[in-house]
């Protein structure tokens, strides 16, 4: 409160009034000032307070002396001894001030133990007042158009953290938030890369276990071995071929095809030499873990099998169904087995055949159709469904 000096209440030549608000009480720090309710005026240069009744009683403080200010919502102010007389706690604006310069004009207080004052708004209007004050403090118009009378300004170092207000403040906040987001994202990905490292370890581990199983065969039951192998199968590829490592285009697909050739051999043999492309897609991507393949890349890689002389082939059935099959997997054998099965049972539907061979229905149907195409089977298409019979014609 000692920063205020007496004023005549008149504006200087370059000074303009920004806003005025009635019913404002001043606080010296937390204590109620010994002044009555008055009008608070905000100009481009100063914060002025004038007593409501006694217009001669007018005090002012240059805006340049304000360090920062903040809002204090109604009802949460500290109830000091002097404030206890008022029953309601009004919304306040707390204004922190630089120490008064030595050449300061005299004011109502010679000294004060507080370095801040409060404006208590008895008749509201604090929101607009705060907004205007923020604007003025951002624009700093008092610097551009100095009043004729030099206003003593505090040049002391702006101690402590300056609190950003106004558009600059908002911008700064946005910037901060962006940095925060950046940090969060990079942290999140850090976790992922850690996970990848761990995944690699897991693959290594599973591989070593697999080797141990091989050594200790007999100690563990067949069933367990098989189950464990199926786990391992889905664990995957230690260093998958990716676009990052092998560029894009043909070279990438070629490398991919080679890797597919290695990893699909075993599962293909298990499944009788043929797998639908969708099945392959699932298996491959499960094994790759994070470096997922697009269906397109997979098809393109599979198309490379033949030119790379890999023991696998991509086969497109007449129906458009695509399968990956072992090269050794001959059509004649397939047809012969289909014919054998059908002859044995008299007749078969695709579903029954699928069950018999442990194939997918799609594939078993393709086989039956193939055998039909070769003239070894014929069909019976009735309300009961499509059945295949040995071709007796």
């Amino acid at each position: 409160m000692d920063r205020f000096s007496w004023s005549n209440g008149l504006l200087e030549i370059n000074e303009t009034l920004v806003i005025q608000q009635r019913g404002v009480k001043l606080y010296d720090g937390d204590d109620k000032a010994k002044l009555d309710v008055g009008v608070a005026l905000l100009s481009t240069h100063r914060l002025i307070w004038r007593d409501l009744k006694n217009h001669e009683c007018c005090i002012a403080i240059p805006l340049s002396q304000i360090i920062f200010f903040e809002e204090q919502a109604a009802g949460i102010g500290k109830r000091s001894v002097s404030a206890s007389t008022s029953l309601t706690l009004d919304a306040k604006i707390v204004i922190h001030l630089h120490p008064a310069p030595a050449n300061k004009e005299p004011g109502p207080y010679q000294q004060s133990k507080f370095s801040y004052i409060k404006l208590s708004f008895k008749e509201h209007g604090q929101i607009e007042f705060f907004r205007r004050l923020t604007e003025e403090m951002t624009q700093k118009r008092w610097e551009n158009t100095p009043v004729s009378q030099p206003i003593p300004t505090a040049t002391g170092a702006q101690a402590g953290r300056t609190r950003a207000v106004g558009i600059v403040g908002i911008e700064r906040k946005i910037e901060e938030r962006r940095k925060e987001t950046d940090k969060n994202i990079s942290e999140a990905f850090e976790d992922l890369s850690k996970l990848m490292v761990k995944a690699k370890e897991m693959v290594e581990l599973s591989r070593s276990i697999a080797n141990k199983i091989k050594d200790k065969q007999g100690d563990i039951t067949e069933d367990e071995t098989i189950r464990f192998k199926s786990y391992l199968l889905s664990m995957g590829i230690a260093n998958p071929v990716t676009r990052e490592t092998h560029g894009s285009g043909t070279h990438y697909h070629m490398q991919l095809a080679k890797q597919l050739g290695d990893m699909l051999q075993a599962p293909l043999e298990e499944r009788g030499g043929m797998m639908a492309l969708t099945e392959v897609y699932c298996l491959v991507n499960r094994a790759r873990g994070m470096e997922l393949l697009s269906p397109e890349d997979l098809v393109n890689a599979c198309k490379m099998f033949e030119s790379l002389k890999l023991p696998l082939r991509l086969r497109v059935f007449d129906s458009g169904v695509m399968v990956v099959q072992l090269q050794s997997h001959s059509e004649e054998e397939m047809i012969a087995s289909a014919l054998d099965n059908v002859s044995e049972k008299g007749s078969l539907t695709a579903e029954e055949f699928a069950k018999l061979l442990g194939l997918s229905v799609l594939l078993s149907k393709e086989r039956l159709l193939l055998a039909e195409k070769m003239g070894h089977l014929c069909r019976d298409d009735s309300v009961e469904g499509l059945r295949f019979y040995p071709n007796l014609f």
Binding site: S347, E372, K373, G375, C378, R379, D380, D381, S382, R387, Y389, N391, L392, F393
Partner: protein
């Protein structure tokens, strides 16, 4: 004498038109011979496609299979190509079945005529199809349009001449 069904008749795929070209050809051949022998056995000369579907030939109740209308059309079309069938209307709903082609009938009739020394004589069409003399012959009871066709076939061969008389038609064999 009951009709003897071929083995295919109890083979369910027989009632599904086979997509395989070779298989289908064999299947159609079997159908043609079945249809013709059935008609011959029952002395059928005209067939209605809708009715045919319900007749035992195309509908095997025992194995619960019947040939679809489309498939029957295909079979009939096949018969037509072989000269054993003629459509009676443009919609192809009724047809004449000739389990013996007119030329074959003509041959049979001519054989009988020459055997009985009736060459150079005139006889009516009724005599040929319903006369006491022809009883026991295959062409006995032959429908008139069929008989006429056969005689026309003979006529083109120069072995007979059809004469139009007041109360019907007659034929003179040479």
């Amino acid at each position: 004498m009951s009709f003897e069904w071929p083995w295919q008749y109890n083979f369910p795929p027989f009632f599904t038109l086979q997509p395989n070209v070779d298989t289908r050809q064999k299947q159609l051949a079997a159908w043609c011979s079945l249809a013709l022998s059935y008609c011959r056995h029952h002395k059928l000369y005209t067939l209605d496609v809708m009715e045919a579907q319900e007749s035992p030939v195309f509908n095997n109740k025992k194995i619960e299979r019947k040939l679809s209308l489309e498939a029957i059309q295909v079979v009939f079309e096949e018969l037509r190509k072989k000269g054993n069938l003629e459509w009676l209307d443009k919609n192809k709903s009724r047809c004449l079945v000739m389990w013996r082609r007119p030329e074959e009938w003509g041959k049979l009739i001519y054989q009988w005529v020459s055997k009985n020394g009736m060459v150079n004589t005139v006889c009516t069409l009724y005599e040929l199809s319903n006369g006491d003399d022809t009883e026991g012959e295959e062409f006995h009871g032959l429908e008139e349009w069929m008989l006429l066709r056969s005689l026309q076939a003979l006529q083109t061969e120069g072995k007979a001449e059809i004469i139009t008389m007041d109360d019907g038609k007659g034929v003179k064999f040479f």
